[in-house]
């Protein structure tokens, strides 16, 4: 059986470190794909949860948090292998750093496509990511309807630190967990 695969600095802030605040949600892919607006509704809810305009330590950028979770949840909904499997969503707060995590279950085909794309995104600098974006758009303009630019955009435009873990479950089924770290003090 394939070993666990780690992409990027997955344990930048390990789960063993107590957070100062946490939010966990579990949704079903069937709910998301049946009523697509629910991806955005969940993302908006999470972004609003820690909102506190009076906070002097940090100002949480709701639009950025919602956009990030929306992209991660849309990917999880699209590529979940079983419609009755779970999508686990969490947000953890560590001083000025937000750790955003989305997990889903997918097929080998989608796992391999995700791994290839994520490796390229994590290993590329900003200039390379710009070229990657331009090439993807050119390819779509030429008729390619395949992989999206969501994760690429999160690193290139939002400077989020991305990482992932791929865990084999059984047969050709895998758990994919994506982490996105956002440092609010950099805003």
């Amino acid at each position: 059986m394939m070993q666990e695969i780690i992409l990027g600095d997955y344990d930048l802030i390990p789960d063993t470190i107590p957070s100062e605040g946490e939010l966990h949600l579990r949704v079903k892919p069937i709910d998301m794909v049946t009523y697509w607006r629910r991806c955005g509704a969940v993302a908006n809810f999470i972004a609003n949860f820690y909102r506190n305009p009076q906070d002097e330590i940090y100002h949480l950028n709701e639009n950025l948090i919602s956009t990030t979770f929306n992209e991660l949840i849309e990917n999880a909904a699209k590529y979940s292998t079983k419609r009755d499997s779970d999508i686990d969503i969490s947000l953890k707060l560590y001083n000025t750093i937000l750790k955003m995590e989305v997990e889903n279950i997918c097929s080998q085909k989608h796992m391999e496509a995700f791994q290839k794309s994520m490796e390229k995104i994590i290993d590329s600098d900003n200039d390379e990511l710009d070229n990657f974006y331009l090439n993807k758009i050119e390819a779509k303009h030429a008729g390619d309807k395949d992989s999206g630019i969501g994760l690429l955009m999160l690193k290139k435009d939002y400077s989020l630190q991305l990482s992932a873990k791929i865990t084999p479950i059984e047969g050709e089924v895998y758990r994919v967990s994506v982490h996105a770290y956002y440092n609010m003090s950099v805003e």
Partner: protein, 114 residues
């Protein structure tokens, strides 16, 4: 000319050759965005020399939407007409972060962030 797309609405005003996009545009995939592409290309055909895309009231646009707008910009670049002017706002992070990409697709696209 008007189009409802999910939780967003697009309007074309021929008097000032401006498409305004308002709300939250997060459709599921490129196929669902086809109607948006058709609307934008119709507006571009009607505009004589310059088309403004006013996004100052567009709270959210997902990556499929950014891809759709990017493809519209490439199609317009190919025709070299009309010139595109994009109005955005710094109030919404996605605009501040991602609108600049459109200028990388066609350096003649004018982008104004208010």
């Amino acid at each position: 000319m008007e189009l409802k797309a999910g939780e967003s609405i697009l309007k074309y005003n021929s008097a000032d050759q401006t498409v305004t996009i308002e709300g939250s545009m997060r459709l599921a995939n490129l196929m669902e965005y086809d109607k948006v592409s058709v609307f934008l290309n119709d507006a571009a055909t009607q505009a004589s020399d310059k088309l403004t895309l006013d996004m100052t009231k567009l709270n959210f646009l997902n990556s499929s939407g950014i891809t759709t707008l990017s493809m519209f910009i490439l199609a317009t670049k190919k025709r070299q007409n009309p010139k595109l002017n994009i109005l955005g706002t710094a109030l919404f992070a996605w605009q501040e972060k991602s609108l600049k990409n459109f200028n990388k697709l066609w350096n003649e696209v004018e982008i104004s962030i208010q």
